[in-house]
Symmetry: C2
Subunit: 495 residues, 2 copies
């Protein structure tokens, strides 16, 4: 390998060690930090984040990139140059004052959002959201785009995918989902209330750890802790941590929240050491990352065969399930219903929640919608897609933090995750034999090894569309997801 390429890697890995510290500071903030430390913690994070930004956007990075470019021979090294260059150029395009203003305003907007949600008053959030939208548009202008201003933001989360592609994809998928939902609504529902009861947190923890171990989550290279909102964070190579939250009344949150984060963690745990500390040592995109969490949470974790293996353990820990058949339990964890809150939505309605958000934020960024129109627009789309209307802002337009954070372009990742997951699943079925049998025997290592080979080991070397093409022979195609839902819910609801 060339000398300059080596120098570039050393330089980037050096910066990444400060990012490792930042990850730990964030993890601790959400898990164990004493309450009164929050102000100082923000200052520490601000200082170190500022330093890593400064180092990454330094002339040194630029010079090393220039010199190393011609030395890159392998796919991996070429990808390193491409991804690093792109990130470098993007950071350079945003004027520092704008970046700082955005940070400050988004911090204020988060506080305002929290208060607005608590008070159920959209007007408390409105002026802040207006600022955030304007700043995001300004940032998009600096980043640049060809056709659609939203492209510039979407690219932060899903490189290589255009707003137009997404918009083209929506109508048929939406129609399918609305139709399926209609059919389901007209059939007999599973009993969901069997999942509601009194589930001791200590016992839920035992169950979660049991499942994690079986799914090959490596507790010597990771941890499971508690936090208000579940998340996955990589501190360093061999240190990938997930959190969960147990609901004493509803056993689903703990189980499927844990499996979801486990999916993210298995991705992170599978990224090779040689890529770590480099800009290609991450997931391919937010959508691909989400495909891994949704794959394990829904396709595997909500499958009948999965519970064929785990149901005895569940009834051992919570004996009251022994009165409920596996069949009944499986149907109940796959209940589909019209609901107001995204994070509680099932596989069928989830993407409708996302479409609504995507359409609204795309409209905001392209001046087709005003912030003041938001509550009405929200309720109108809820009525149209899900047939229900929120009675409060907090169950409606104020439910998610994303816009307060200024994360425009993020929401589509959730939908893309579901679509990629199904497409990946069908490729897996072609490649591996007797998948169902393995799942019902609690053997997941072959599935994981396949995912590692096809996805995890690649890090961010390939853009999502290239990666999914390598795996499945075609670009993102929502029909896999449609087929998957059709097949699964026909069985569950006898459609």
């Amino acid at each position: 390998m060339g000398e300059n390429l080596e120098k570039l890697k050393t330089h980037l890995r050096k910066i990444s060690k400060f990012e490792n510290a930042l990850s730990l500071l964030h993890w601790d903030l959400e898990t164990y930090m004493p309450r009164n430390a929050s102000e100082k913690r923000a200052e520490i994070i601000g200082e170190i984040a500022g330093y890593t930004f400064k180092e990454f956007t330094s002339d040194k990075t630029f010079e090393l990139l220039l010199k190393a470019e011609n030395e890159a021979q392998t796919t991996e090294d070429k990808a390193l140059i491409r991804v690093t260059k792109k990130e470098f150029e993007k950071s350079k395009k945003i004027p520092p004052e704008l970046f700082i203003e955005f940070q400050i305003e988004s911090s204020k907007a988060q506080n305002a959002w929290q208060l607005a949600k608590k008070e159920d008053d959209f007007n408390l959030f409105k002026p802040h959201l207006e600022k955030i939208v304007n700043l995001s548009k300004e940032i998009a202008e600096h980043l640049g785009y060809e056709e659609n201003r939203y492209d510039a933001l979407l690219d932060n989360y899903e490189p290589g995918l255009n707003t137009k592609d997404l918009l083209n994809m929506l109508p048929s998928l939406r129609n399918f989902l609305i139709n399926l939902l209609e059919k389901i609504e007209n059939s007999t529902r599973p009993k969901k209330d069997i999942l509601i009861g009194k589930f001791e947190v200590k016992k839920q923890k035992i169950l979660s750890e049991f499942i994690l171990k079986k799914l090959n989550f490596d507790f010597n290279s990771g941890r499971l802790d508690l936090s208000e909102h579940p998340f996955t964070i990589t501190i360093s190579h061999n240190d990938v941590r997930i959190t969960t939250k147990y609901d004493e009344r509803d056993i689903r949150k703990g189980i499927f929240g844990t499996i979801h984060e486990c999916g993210h963690a298995l991705y992170e745990m599978g990224i090779p050491e040689k890529l770590r500390g480099l800009p290609i040592g991450n997931g391919a995109s937010m959508g691909i990352h989400e495909s891994q969490s949704r794959f394990w949470e829904n396709i595997i974790g909500r499958s009948y065969n999965f519970w064929k293996y785990f149901y005895p353990k569940l009834t051992e820990i919570f004996p009251h399930f022994s009165n409920i058949s596996l069949e009944e339990f499986w149907r109940s964890i796959n209940t589909v219903e019209k609901s107001l809150v995204r994070v509680e939505a099932d596989e069928v309605t989830y993407n409708l929640h996302i479409m609504l958000r995507f359409e609204i934020e795309e409209g905001l960024i392209n001046d087709k919608i005003k912030v003041s129109d938001l509550p009405e627009m929200w309720n109108q789309k809820m009525k149209e897609y899900l047939g229900i209307t929120p009675k409060s802002y907090k169950e409606g337009v104020l439910q998610d933090i994303h816009w307060a954070l200024g994360s425009f372009g993020y929401f589509p990742s959730y939908m893309l995750g579901n679509l990629y997951a199904a497409q990946i699943y069908y490729s897996l079925l072609k490649d591996l034999e007797n998948i169902d049998e393995k799942i019902e025997n609690g053997e997941f290592i072959e599935i994981l090894n396949w995912l590692r080979e096809k996805i995890h080991s690649k890090g961010k070397i390939y853009e999502p569309q290239e990666l999914i093409s390598q795996i499945s022979g075609e670009k993102l195609n929502p029909n896999y997801f449609i087929d998957y839902l059709n097949l699964k819910y026909k069985k569950i609801y006898n459609l």
Copy 2:
């Protein structure tokens, strides 16, 4: 305040934020880090520690110090200049190559020490210790000293105290302790075995937390966790964490370990925000720090009045103590005996363990003793001071990690802590009324407030001898400790 002084403070506080991150990385390493992450963690810590060292020893620090010096008017600002300058000059005196060599050798020595202790083979450690001693001597030569090479190292832990002062102090203190021990050995012993049993960790935790709250440990600005070796660490202002270790068989370790660390933590929690992030925002010295832990652990925590308040709680949590009288319990937690291991030693014998170590390490640094003489020298002094001989290296010369770390000059801090604690206690008795009554009512806030006013709020503004003079009207005087022991152990052993 002058502009340059302000700039200096900003510069130092900026560096301190990276030190905050380092503290968290260390805390996590000892508490929650997954096993496989240790190699990467060492790299992260190394990189960030290197950065803070580079920044602190930079020309910028030097220039700001020079410019700010004349602007310092207050005692606090003058102390800031003095302490910062001293630390800066010390760091500059050691050649970077020597510093790095020392880090590498001490890391190797720690591994060798662990193995040697496990295998009970001094020879495995010997060549490493020889290197560490030689490097420490070299460092001492670079740091400089007037009379005694050991002074240069002692100054790292106890500024303002000379080896000569220490050596002069020893004979009478040693004679007193050996005599007292002799008398105690010839009298009736308390029953220590009542403290041995089966103490559930969960219950010990409840007891520890109860005591910590009563001692005004602020759980909103701190935490209690578990680790292999108990320690106190400050992450940032309003974030002071302690750890403890519970022994299921011996209840003393958990209780007194926790109170000991609580003493350190109360000191750290009492350092004012305005000093934080500056070199004067720490404890005055290791000895003064240890005085706070020993004060709470021994003088308060092993007092009769303390247990008058806490014994009902103890018997509530561990009902088997209801068969044992408070008097009997109190005597048993103050059992004095000849023992081999420092960390398990009582108040009377503890300082004898320290003297032995101090004399040996002073001899090593001043070429009066060779590393190869160590085992014999150790056993000879053990016989002389404590009348017993270790049967193994691990219970003898290999028991402590300090020399593997290259922390020559540290051991005296433990003894000084005991001496300062007694001297501080007698001053407290003069200043506050009805101390005993307050303690037996579980009211510790006035004692804490007094310590805060006299010690904690001062940070590192004053050197230890000046601080103790302000409090007690005289420099360090071991007679207070002698008086304290005499009075206490006469009662316990009816001498």
